[in-house]
Symmetry: C3
Subunit: 467 residues, 3 copies
């Protein structure tokens, strides 16, 4: 298998000056903007002793750090190992999967701290950050990792950095509209992260449609060990999803409840995924693509409602349905999207994030609309939906309506944003590879000569065998 | 290496309708039972604000979530990544190891929430769950993962689901007898999880004895990278075992002490394992099988006593001994069990869980019997052993006797249960593979054509070389 | 590829009696010393109920366990999976990387509990341990893992155990001088862990210089999947580094701040590493060696200052610079060190730990010297630098001077200690391999025959092809 060395002919993928320029330019911009705007929040500032006195706190354990840091670390693992390794399933794109995910996420969290900070943590001209900001930055970047899944293997690292810049910006605007203007609940991000991120990515990949992609079809599959690497990603996403959905919920019962609902939903999702994976295949064998992806749909689908009184059996139902929808999606929708709508979705994010994200938004709207003071308790009801201040007259059914509006806004933002950003990424200056070199690490990475390759070389006519 | 395609001849391993049917049937049952029985416990319910007032709690940090959630997540990783990847050492059974473990554990935790809930969290007709229930469900499933280790590679996914159903049931009964009737301490589960799970699995594999298993002997080994995948499992089990043994201990000193004892025991275990691995091999080389498994025996062997005042040096002694016993077991007992007793134990759970589990039970009994008010303090003594209510007159030596009785009960339950369940699994309806197709993912999984395979194909007479 | 079987000719690498002897001797010593000295600290002892009353604590959540245990587990993962897998990049030394790291760390933490205990937790003739001691033991061992990186592939397990014994001892002395005598702040260990560990390891590898190492040059590279295994190590180190730098900081704002600073520094470091990795390579391609290592320099470089008011933008600057320095080091310094100074640094710890460690020490000194009561608040200022008791008259600039002195002391201890220990390891009794067998697991491990090897065997003249 002489790896292709002629990518330079069709397209210029030479990164030597362009990639460093973009990386350094943006890092310098981050430093300047952080210097002007970002400071420690009260709970991370050395003035905390005074703060404690003012807030009448008797113990350091009341610092938000201890409520959220364990969840933060779990979310952090999901973004970098979870998404990174989930995408290593391709036989020759492991470096790009885990490495570019690393790059875009590392940039994205910095830019997200700024964007989300301006919207949510801006006081007296400064963005004051704490552990909750770190979680939210990771969340925001999660939506970029999702979009990355659609274009995996077909873009240059510069394109990914450009996309991250715009997507984080749009994410923050969309999030602001939902959380602040519509006063919508979405702690686990079914709408803001999954629906937005997935439809954004799908729109981008539609704009970047490559008619000749079948030229690299042989590299779009997995090999045995790449499937096992991908399972590392799958399992870390699956295991830590309860932390994801509960990370920024209110202290106490809400965090507790989010974790339980998510745990239940994910457990159910595994069984229906396995059932349909076997059922939809002639030989009745299980397909690793489904196990790696559809088992996670249950986490996406309770992202909005997990902190509500969805109840454990409600979670089982939602998880079961989302596993079925997602698996069916991989078998029937993905080929349809590609052949009819020209949407080339490398990782099948439509099945893992888009559809389950929509389910999540809808379940959230219904659960909110069905809320009663009886189920939540008088105080719990107000606290769960923040029915205070100008929102103190909102009823559950009105809240349900706003939740539904949140889905629509997220979709519109995703389509419009994805179309614009896709257009920008289509410019012929970003160094993406030709169709025949897609899904191939060799284009952007120094790749070691494997022993396997040596074996191939033995048989190549122009190289002597090395025994 | 043309992989065998003739498994259908000897046995019918076609899963298309059977596996989906079982998965869906059981998931529907779970939904119905959860709907009837399972609700949020007080600390996860939206009424928590009222609860806080009643319990006179001043801060949300008093919610059990913050005491146990980090440990829960560590335990969760042990069950899904730890056990899952530990079993990927086989060269062609990585999908089955990590995938079937995923399937059985995802079903098992749901069923365990119900079974354990009926026994321990049942109030006014409802099972009220919180983070401690999630941990206990994971624990219960841990015993199934252990049993899976004995039959790894030799059973169909349906058999595993059937076994899980029965084993979780029996586990819960046994646990109820030990914890509630005998009033035994076993926070890390030396008896309830390891002894029970391992002897159950060994009995099952004895009943399922396959006389012709040497037909797939070539697939029972590892390859270089599968051994590295397995080390991921080993290390996560090893690192997070302090969380496992402390996860459901009493708040405060007991959790703290459990983690320290386990940390010490595991550290010592590594050294004696390495020593005996080298010593028992003619060429003096280390064996990955020992490193992957026997290094963990130290965690098993302090499962009962970790929350007691075992002391750090006591832990070192227990860990050292269990590493030796386990390594010796791999070298001498496993071949003996297979050739003489017809117990085919794929992962050597007899060495990693059965013997160290017994050690753990015995050490627990001795440590309990040796407890004094001087060492524990008057209050600490009562708290550590729950010598309250009807048990307020129990003495340490009587407690030690009950602890010992717990070992015996666990063994009896394991043997009886394993024999019955083994008999059920022997029925010729579950779709297990023929002996020559054991330890081979191709039977139940879509397996990608690897590059290595391509190489082989080059040399196979009936296929043209693809250069 | 017939693997070399003639290592016995040049050197005696037979471990059968030597390795067990050393392991068992040292474990027995640990048991005896633990028996004499180590007991539970107050927060892990069953007398905790009385302790709580005396300390006027109203809740178990005030137990230090809940402040530090999540961070401890993250640090634990960094030591065993992080360092272990980071070093699996070599194509045929994965077992040694992860296995020997496991061995030396498991021994090291026991010895560190004693050594650090005598210096810091010794009361009434006993070492009283709690979760903070476990973290510190892991930290101490971290410095040994770093040194291991320099000599990876070139030493026997016995040499590693001997080195661990001495290095832990010297580490503890150095740490005592810095923290207690110089009253220096170094929560994340830029000086005590990284500077000391790296220069110690570099000195050892200098003393052990092997002039004929190019004989095993073909094994010093990676293969495709070994690079992915290494990325597991990289990412876990990267993700959990905020826990590393904050694990033993003061409760409250200091822990919170350390995590934020480290998060920022690491994010910036990824971008400059990617930039320079591409820029310094003719073809502009990214090099996995840089991505695996230099991206972590940002964590090292804020090790001292993370708990100070470094500010987020300060962290971005430090992280950016350290990524550049580290990447440049891999490209230019490592070859220079090897060819001119005869320092053979397998993992390039000079670039990842030594230089960034120095940066970290210097940044810490500057940040301390620049501290003002205005920035920290009156109380925060005193608390951050422990300007109490005999140190209550210390000014920031004096503190900065002492911080700088801490760097010098660490360097001197590393050079002197490394020279002595290197001399000891040079004795021809420890069973290290000949130059042509370096970086080869086969010397000390039972290695499975891989399918790839079978392929080679097909072509080897003396073996029949097995089709």
């Amino acid at each position: 298998m002489e790896r292709p060395r002629h990518q330079g002919m069709a397209k210029n993928t030479y990164m030597r000056w362009r990639l460093p320029l973009v990386c350094l330019l943006w890092e310098v911009a981050m430093i300047v903007l952080f210097g002007v705007f970002v400071r420690f929040g009260a709970e991370a500032d050395a003035h905390w002793e005074e703060e404690k006195r003012e807030m009448n706190l008797t113990s350091d354990i009341e610092n938000d750090f201890y409520f959220r840091y364990p969840s933060f670390q779990d979310v952090h693992v999901m973004i970098f190992v979870g998404f990174g390794f989930l995408m290593t399933f391709l036989k020759r794109y492991g470096f790009g999967a885990v490495g570019f995910n690393f790059l875009l996420a590392a940039f994205g969290i910095q830019w997200a701290l700024l964007m989300q900070g301006w919207f949510h943590s801006f006081k007296n001209g400064k963005i004051l950050i704490g552990v909750e900001n770190l979680i939210n930055a990771d969340f925001c970047v999660g939506s970029v990792c999702i979009a990355f899944g659609a274009i995996l293997g077909k873009t240059s690292p510069i394109q990914l950095l450009v996309m991250t810049l715009f997507q984080v910006t749009l994410f923050s605007v969309n999030e602001y509209i939902l959380l602040n203007l519509l006063h919508v609940k979405d702690a686990g991000g079914s709408m803001t992260i999954h629906t937005f991120g997935a439809y954004f990515g799908l729109t981008v990949t539609r704009v970047l449609y490559r008619p000749n992609l079948e030229q690299s079809k042989d590299k779009q599959g997995s090999v045995y060990h790449s499937d096992l690497f991908a399972m590392i990603g799958t399992l870390y996403l699956w295991m830590y999803w309860p932390s994801f959905n509960s990370a920024i919920s209110d202290h106490g019962d809400a965090q507790h409840r989010s974790a339980i609902n998510t745990y239940c939903s994910l457990a159910a999702c595994v069984l229906t995924t396995m059932a349909f994976s076997s059922m939809l295949q002639k030989k009745g064998k299980l397909d690793m693509v489904h196990i790696q992806n559809a088992t996670l749909a249950g986490g996406v689908a309770v992202g909005t409602s997990a902190e509500m009184m969805l109840t454990p059996y409600g979670s089982l139902i939602v998880g079961s349905i989302s596993g079925i929808v997602s698996t069916v999606g991989y078998v029937y929708f993905t080929p349809f999207l590609e052949s009819r709508l020209h949407i080339q979705d490398t990782c099948g994010i439509h099945n893992l994030h888009a559809m389950p994200g929509l389910i999540g938004g809808i379940v959230g709207a219904i659960t909110a609309a069905a809320a009663t003071e009886d189920v939540y308790g008088k105080e719990g009801f107000i606290k769960a939906f923040d029915f205070t201040g100008v929102y103190r007259t909102r009823t559950p059914s009105i809240q349900g309506g706003f939740q539904a509006a949140g889905i629509v806004v997220s979709l519109l933002m995703a389509f419009a944003g994805g179309a614009i950003v896709g257009g920008i990424l289509k410019l012929p200056i970003w160094g993406d590879a030709a169709a025949e070199n897609c899904f191939e690490d060799d284009v952007y990475w120094e790749v070691p000569e494997d022993e396997e390759s040596d074996v191939y070389h033995m048989h190549s006519p122009d190289k002597p065998a090395s025994p």
